[in-house]
């Protein structure tokens, strides 16, 4: 009991620290200009996507390649209902999540019975299919030009424009903290233990009476909801969406964020999101080569740090502890 309350205390302190960072960081970044504030918002959106994807990819071990397509579904949903019906952002935000869940559930019902590579391939078929829908369903999505003039968010009469970076950063960070909190709660529950059991050995989990399909479905639905919500955030903040916003590169970036940060860890995807957004920006000094260098970095990271940044930190810590132990001996 004592141990448990200690852990809870530690966790509460981490959350408070996270909230403090979320409040202070935008204020500091704002001093450096609108550009870096924009980057910070992008990092936030990527972090939401990566954190939610991590629930199904990192904790449950399913190579879900449809995440960015469902992010696109959320973005288009919020854009379309905001333009056509003039619905307020605060209502389109959850609706985008729910529509993504609705479409994601259908996909999940079809594909979650499959395993490993087959599941990954079925998801990638959905990814290709959705990009075709975004480009070709012109009446609804505006085709290749996309949706333009998506109304800004507003509270009462106060309109939050795209240039109000600080407010946007706070909105995105609030959603990010909520995502982390929800994933944390799911993982440290009965459901989370079932998910990890599925990741470790699906057949064994099944044989001990875990309904693997429904547990995978829960993880999938939770992840999809936040993908849809972050889509709505992006669409409203950006003011426009085009099919190019949801191309295969974006999807690569989210997976890379999970992997580089550390799969199956709570903070890994956030760290990864910082790296995958920031690194290309820094590499821009190398001119046209920056994406090539980024590709080399990703391969190097996979080969030399297969457990991500979190894995490296844990390893370093263990090494340090061992050295201290030796010193004591």
């Amino acid at each position: 009991m004592g141990r448990r309350s200690l852990d809870t205390n530690k966790k509460n302190i981490s959350y408070l620290a996270g909230i403090a960072v979320a409040i202070i960081l935008p204020l500091v970044i704002r001093l450096t200009g609108a550009y870096w504030a924009h980057i910070l918002i992008l990092i936030g959106i990527y972090a939401i996507l990566a954190t939610s994807l991590n629930l199904i990819m990192g904790y449950t071990g399913q190579a879900d390649l449809a995440h960015s397509a469902l992010y696109g579904v959320g973005a288009y949903t919020s854009g379309i209902i905001a333009i056509r019906f003039g619905i307020n952002f605060w209502i389109t935000l959850p609706i985008a999540g729910l529509v993504a869940v609705a479409i994601g559930s259908i996909l999940g019902l079809i594909t979650l019975r499959l395993r490993g590579t087959y599941f990954a391939l079925a998801c990638s078929a959905f990814l290709f299919l959705m990009s075709m829908v975004f480009t070709n369903l012109r009446n609804l999505t505006g085709g290749i030009q996309g949706l333009l003039f998506i109304p800004s968010a507003s509270i009462g009469g106060f309109v939050i424009h795209q240039k109000d970076k600080i407010i946007w950063t706070y909105i995105v960070f609030a959603v990010l903290l909520l995502t982390i909190f929800v994933v944390d709660r799911v993982v440290h529950s009965r459901v989370g233990r079932a998910l990890i059991a599925i990741r470790e050995d699906e057949d064994l989990a099944k044989s001990t009476g875990v309904n693997t399909f429904w547990y995978k479905m829960i993880a999938f639905v939770v992840a999809t909801f936040f993908a849809g919500v972050s889509g709505a955030l992006f669409a409203t903040y950006n003011g426009m969406v085009t099919p190019a916003n949801f191309d295969i590169i974006l999807f690569f970036m989210i997976v890379a964020a999970c992997f580089i940060g550390g799969l199956g860890t709570l903070l890994g995807p956030v760290i990864g999101a910082v790296i995958v957004v920031l690194l290309p920006e820094i590499l821009r000094v190398t001119g046209q080569y920056y994406f090539v260098i980024f590709g080399v970095f990703i391969i190097a990271a996979t080969l030399f740090a297969p457990d991500g940044v979190i894995g490296l930190v844990t390893k370093a810590r263990k090494k340090l502890a061992r050295r201290q132990q030796k010193a004591v001996d």
Binding site: V255, G295, I299
Partner: protein
């Protein structure tokens, strides 16, 4: 009727290309069990290398084809060196490698060959009329080369010692190791052959289509669809699925909408996965 036959013929030609790419992918997959999302990039590179040879060195198509295929083999060799380091680890490590490769190859070729669309000079544009079908010589070359390549691959796997060793490795890696087959070497040859076939497809189609650094993405999707429909690891299955996808795409495009031409393919893929996940010709593999 004439329109239908014309669409069928066009589908058959594009099906040949899909066929080569899918056979290349399934060769690699069956031995390495990797999801090589960079596969389409080698198709793109095959086309660009052919274009580069013709535009900068010699104006000879066949030499361009030869060099593109050789370059494909070398690229396959190098790619395998990277992939083999994560062999047997989880699916995602391999996926990350392919992601890195996509970034490097796509942006690299944009730097080397330029971002605007290029097209390889068509040396054989003469249009012939065969029965109802009007078809140019380049398309006939595609069909002929594909038939030869498929026959070659099938004979190789059926009759040569190395082909049999590769099949054994695909079927049971450990068992093959017990009887003295070096699995690492088999992976290497699978990669060299698979990527060379894909580069061949690229250089064959290049005179008819415009090249862009991003064309590989779509081809990767097509190749994965074909190997799943045909049954992962089955070369004949991949070939048949390649033709089927090409024909369905063209007929759908002719009669309904070219923009949605790929839609039936992905729907078919989802259907096959749900109803018969092992594919039409697949066998259970360990």
């Amino acid at each position: 009727m004439e329109l239908f036959i014309q669409a069928l013929a066009a589908g058959l030609v594009i099906g040949c290309v899909y066929c080569l790419i899918s056979i290349g992918l399934t060769m690699i997959f069956s031995i390495m069990r990797i999801v090589n999302f960079a596969h389409g990039e080698f198709f793109m590179l095959g086309g660009y290398i052919g274009w580069f040879v013709v535009n900068h060195y010699v104006s000879n198509y066949w030499l361009a084809v030869l060099i593109a295929v050789l370059a494909g083999g070398i690229l396959g060799f190098l790619t395998e060196k990277i992939y083999s380091r994560v062999y047997g680890k989880n699916l995602l490590s391999m996926f990350m490698i392919s992601l890195g490769l996509v970034l490097i190859l796509q942006n690299g070729s944009q730097i080397i060959f330029g971002a605007m669309s290029r097209s390889l000079f068509n040396f054989y544009p003469t249009v012939r009329e065969i029965g109802f079908v009007r078809i140019n010589d380049q398309r006939l070359i595609i069909v002929g080369a594909t038939i030869m390549a498929i026959a070659g691959v099938l004979l190789f796997f059926k009759y040569t010692k190395m082909g049999k060793a590769m099949r054994a490795t695909a079927g049971n890696r450990r068992g093959a190791g017990v009887v003295g087959i070096k699995a690492e070497r088999m992976s290497m040859f699978a990669f060299i052959g698979g990527i060379a076939l894909t580069a061949l497809a690229g250089v064959l189609l290049a005179p008819l289509y415009s090249l862009l650094p991003t064309i590989g993405d779509r081809l990767t999707g097509v190749a994965f669809t074909c190997i799943v429909i045909g049954g992962i690891g089955s070369i004949g299955g991949a070939a048949i699925a390649g033709f089927a996808v090409g024909i369905v795409e063209n007929i759908f495009g002719t009669y309904f909408s070219t923009a949605w031409a790929f839609a039936p393919m992905f729907v078919l893929l989802l259907l096959v996965l749900v109803v018969k996940p092992l594919g039409l010709f697949g066998k259970e593999v360990a």
